[in-house]
């Protein structure tokens, strides 16, 4: 088994094929999209491949240590930041091919006009524990 992160970006990825902001969809199209995402996660639970899924608020804060006895510095958002993470799903699957297949399905979630969004999702393998048998 191998764990993969399916990463969804607000920005930073190339534009989706069906690239319309959600508040310009018909209300029923939003409902259909949410349903698709819920069904997708529920199906992965039944196949034993779902690990975790979370959505993130678009707004956050950059924080860094500022030396002994001083409060951390907070800043941002930085104008030069191109990337913004919208959320993720973690899956535990048998192969890279299965991970690609699932990411493809997730990217086909319906959007404006009820047509697949074709958005880019980033697929990142987890770094794992070293195996017990090494030779």
């Amino acid at each position: 088994m191998a764990k993969y992160l399916l990463l969804k970006h607000y920005r930073g990825a190339p534009a989706a094929v069906n690239d319309v902001p959600m508040d310009k969809w018909a209300p029923e199209e939003i409902t259909a999209h949410v349903q698709y995402m819920n069904d997708f996660a529920a199906r992965l639970e039944t196949t034993g491949e779902f690990v975790d899924g979370q959505a993130l608020s678009p707004e956050g804060t950059w924080v860094r240590y500022d030396g002994e006895g001083r409060p951390p510095v907070t800043d941002g958002p930085f104008a030069e930041t191109k990337d913004l993470i919208a959320g993720w799903m973690v899956i535990d699957v048998d192969s890279y091919e299965r991970a690609v297949e699932l990411a493809g399905e997730l990217s086909a979630a319906p959007g404006a006009g009820g047509k697949p969004i074709h958005e880019w999702l980033e697929l990142r393998p987890f770094l794992t524990e070293p195996p017990t048998i090494t030779e």
């Binding site: 902001p21 959600m22 508040d23 310009k24 969809w25 018909a26 209300p27 199209e29 939003i30 409902t31 949410v34 349903q35 819920n38 959505a55 608020s57 678009p58 707004e59």
Partner: protein, 381 residues
């Protein structure tokens, strides 16, 4: 076996152990062990006296643990001595446990976890599931909480307000594992109101019952949020509403108003309206004025602006809103709603979309996005 009945015995059993000389942390562990044992044994071998059974088993577990304890500081005093049960001031013990588990030295999340375990009798696993954290994390949180209150004397009276805040949190926050936290909060508040006569305890119980009554209608079958005005009032739980109203009226009659009674009064006015249009918004605004006086909370002022918008028209609501900090959570969503009611649909759509970006949870985000989409598609409600 009725698990709720079993768990309702938890605080009095723990109280008895502590009065016999067990320290709180070890006693609480022993009671947990006894509960687990009861779940295993009772279905095939039900005890005649469930509470007596739990006390006996928990006390033995406690003695075993004390014997095994390397420190053995208190061993000589306790081992091989099973005190006569005697009269047990069960009610007082239960109340003391609430105070201890909500002690002001605890953080809110620790107080919630400790209350659910020591008073509610839930297992660490159940509590971890309810708050979506690993079981080991929740176990650590609970044992740290127990250490924090280890020096607190058990028989000291506490502040009911701290207990009510904890119970309010249990009702209002958390996810569902195999435990219904809202129902659990109601059970614990009911138990507390049996142990102490206090109008705010009654007020919180009424508030919970009135909100719980609407539960089945708060979400559509697909999980999306249904706002109060659009809920199917015919499906509200009238038994729960009647009980909440009755408890609230008895509390208000005592003329010691507090924030939970005032919140419950607002919920009761909503429950009382057969249709959203028949809501008595003027009276609701008056209750919000009381709440502002009692709490001076900006969140209350924000809710008041919504009520003013209904009672005196959207312009009045927007004027009330203008006095508030626009960084307040849900400020933008309220502004969007009032602008829509005022007929400025373009501004409303833009604000709904902005509110969606600031939404604190997915259900609200989806709801607000749908509101923006509805207006952008040129549709009314």
């Amino acid at each position: 076996m009725n698990e709720a009945l079993l768990r309702s015995l938890t605080p009095s059993v723990l109280g008895i152990l502590v009065r016999r000389g067990a320290d709180f942390a070890a006693g609480e562990d022993a009671v947990q062990d006894a509960l687990v044992e009861a779940v295993r044994v009772w279905p095939t071998d039900p005890p005649r006296d469930p509470k007596g059974w739990l006390v006996t088993v928990a006390w033995r577990r406690f003695l075993d643990a004390t014997r095994a304890d390397a420190a053995r500081r208190r061993r000589e005093d306790l081992v091989d001595e099973e005190p006569a049960p005697g009269p047990t001031p069960a009610v007082d013990d239960t109340l003391q446990l609430y105070f201890l588990c909500a002690h002001p030295s605890l953080t809110p999340s620790s107080a919630v976890a400790l209350t659910l375990r020591a008073v509610g009798g839930l297992t660490t696993r159940q509590i971890a599931q309810a708050y979506l954290v690993p079981e080991a994390t929740m176990a650590q949180r609970i044992s740290r909480a127990k250490r924090t209150v280890s020096g607190v004397r058990f028989d000291q009276p506490g502040d009911v307000a701290t207990v009510l805040r904890v119970l309010y949190l249990v009702f209002n926050e958390g996810y569902s594992g195999d435990v219904d936290l809202a129902a659990e909060a109601i059970r614990l508040t009911r138990q507390l109101s049996a142990a102490i006569d206090h109008p705010e305890v009654a007020g919180l119980l009424a508030l919970m019952l009135l909100h719980h009554a609407r539960r089945a209608t708060r979400n559509a079958p697909d999980g999306s949020l249904v706002p109060l005005a659009e809920q199917d009032r015919g499906r509200w739980d009238t038994t729960s509403i009647a009980e909440g109203v009755q408890i609230l009226q008895a509390a208000l009659a005592r003329d010691r108003l507090g924030e939970f009674q005032a919140q419950a009064a607002i919920a009761a006015l909503h429950a009382d309206a057969p249709a959203a249009e028949e809501t008595d918004w003027v009276q609701i605004v008056e209750w919000y004025d009381e709440l502002v006086r009692l709490t001076d909370s900006p969140v209350v002022r924000l809710n008041r602006a919504v009520a003013v918008g209904e009672a005196d028209g959207p312009r009045a609501g927007l004027a009330a809103l203008a006095a508030l900090d626009d960084a307040l959570p849900r400020h933008t969503a309220v502004a969007a709603y009032l602008h829509e009611r005022d007929g400025d649909l373009a501004t409303a759509a833009r604000l709904y979309a902005e509110a969606a970006r600031r939404a604190p949870n997915l259900a609200e985000r989806d709801h607000l996005t749908r509101q923006a989409a509805r207006l952008n598609a040129g549709r009314g409600r």
